[in-house]
Symmetry: C2
Subunit: 336 residues, 2 copies
């Protein structure tokens, strides 16, 4: 039995879902993979709770859910005021797990790798802006740097592009990678205007208070950039041609419906070119997804067309990707 | 640059498609993966052509296509009358590639592994009957034993189940895994009866002269068995509950159509239970595939429903799986 020390950064909905899966399925993972996970630290913006012998993740969940912040947890543990980079340096761990939205996380991802630690992340900007640098550091040190949950939650699109098409040459990917815009467009098809649909999405917690990341296609653009890096070569988010759904009118939606079509925020990824924009797609097309589904239509020279459809959002669904990567990273660390 | 010696068993349509891809994309693979493939032997039922320094695969293709058998190739090379087991033992290679239909190939797969050679196979019966034994041998020796092309051609369903869902627990898989039966059922929807549709499939080379493997659900049963081994635990083909499409009548097809449904040969895989039988599925269901497409609908505890749709037959499409595995095996051999 190999013990793997996890240092978890971010304790919002996704971070807590990850910890819950590790708790609920811990015995199964021990049996199936021969690894035992020990959470040595959890961090939110209020502070870092750290105990080299391992903290009690059950208690961490209770504190966070009852008091809203980890810094309230002063009974049993010390709360540290580390920056993420300091935490990465100070805390002895095997895998740094980033489930934050920190746009500058690449700095502490690099610090972790340089310090011999594996990284598992659901955080997109580090990859959308610094893919080449991060991969070079990880490969040079033969360390896992895994990011399945950055695109299509746990739906294994990253695994497929990294490991499932080694003999193929990807020609094009078309994908719907953002579930919030799909929700809004679906509600507009039911008769709401853009503002009403957006308010409903916000009321349901589907859209954030500042919804611009989803609406303007920034989130889909990050994800499309990551897919480009995998399918072709490293490229950065500023190269994405992007138009959001903010100017879609009820009239646009009705006109598409009249033609048997639906409007979706579609990402098109070709060698050296990434576009994200609202497009009319036939109702029978794989891109005409509903609800929180995402889909990717991958065209290659040998295989022709391959379609992968699955959850693109959701807590358990995102935890699936993060936990899967934690397991893979553990197995790779054990080998080396 | 690492040179990888390939010993290829089977030189029918798939074997030749594999060699063609290795020839056409050899320079790309060298650049992308730093491996150089050298074919040291090719074998068909007429004999084994072997040269330790490497044979010329271009010439092998010409001989086979012009004379129908490799044993005609006596100008430049010696033709050996090895059994596959003898060939595995005699021929120095890194990867044994099985693209035959040999039902007893598990014996020489095991011989290859015991001899320290990796195995890549598109041949289903060894896995459908001897999965546990083969995996144990391969894992014990830390040798690649890869079989992506056995199910859904190169569509990476094996990669997804092996590497893409490590944190998930699979609950059920429903899949359409045989393209010949889909073709026949589609033609019956167009008005043909079973015999007419079968003859058309045979005339087009979609069904074999002896079509029983496809029609009776044996092929789909092999594939479903392999998926069960991956998703749950080892199980053998004789445990499959199986009904073919041979008794489907034009009346059955019309009745399904009248209900907005279509009949497909569906494999259902649950823990300890594999069923293959014709089922009515709604036209809008992912299982209602057309043409040479296969599909798998995977249900898991965390991710919910994941759908993978892609080619389930075809030469380039199957070569995609075999060549992808050859590359993966080479990379793993290089690491160790």
């Amino acid at each position: 039995m190999r013990e793997i020390k996890l240092s978890i950064f971010g304790f919002g909905n996704v971070g807590r879902a990850v910890v819950r899966v590790l708790l609920e399925k811990g015995a199964l993972f021990r049996e199936r993979y021969g690894v035992e996970f020990k959470v040595v630290s959890v961090a939110d913006t209020s502070g870092v709770v750290w105990l080299p012998e391992g903290i009690d993740p059950r208690e961490a969940l209770i504190i966070k859910e009852n008091f809203g912040k980890l810094s309230s947890w002063t009974n049993d543990y010390e709360v540290y005021n580390f920056t993420p980079s300091e935490a990465v340096r100070e805390i002895d761990s095997d895998i740094v797990v980033d489930v934050t939205n920190d746009k500058n996380a690449h700095t502490w991802h690099l610090a972790a790798l340089k310090d011999g630690k594996a990284v598992v992340t659901s955080n997109k900007p580090p990859l959308a802006f610094h893919y080449a640098e991060l991969m070079k550091e990880a490969e040079g040190r033969n360390l896992p740097y895994f990011f399945e949950a950055t695109v299509m939650a746990g739906t294994p699109i990253i695994t497929v592009l990294q490991d499932g098409l080694k003999g193929d040459t990807v020609e094009r990917i078309e994908a719907v990678l953002n579930a919030t815009t799909t929700f809004i467009l679906s509600r507009m098809e039911a008769g709401l205007d853009f503002e009403e649909a957006l308010r409903e999405a916000q009321a349901l917690g589907i859209a954030e208070r500042d919804p611009s990341g989803d609406i303007l296609g920034i989130d889909a653009g990050y994800k499309a950039t990551i897919l480009h890096c995998l399918a072709f070569h490293p490229l950065t988010f500023d190269r994405v041609k992007r138009r959001g759904i903010e100017e879609i009118t009820p009239e646009d939606v009705r006109r598409a419906q009249g033609r048997g079509n639906t409007i979706r925020l579609v990402a098109e990824i070709e060698d050296g070119a990434v576009t994200v924009e609202p497009r009319e797609v036939p109702r029978t097309n794989p891109l005409a997804v509903e609800s929180h589904e995402n889909t990717a239509v991958i065209r290659t020279d040998l295989l022709g067309e391959l379609v992968i459809t699955g959850a693109g959002a959701g807590l358990k669904e995102t935890a699936s990707g993060v936990v899967g990567d934690i397991i893979k990273a553990s197995m790779k660390l054990r080998e080396s």
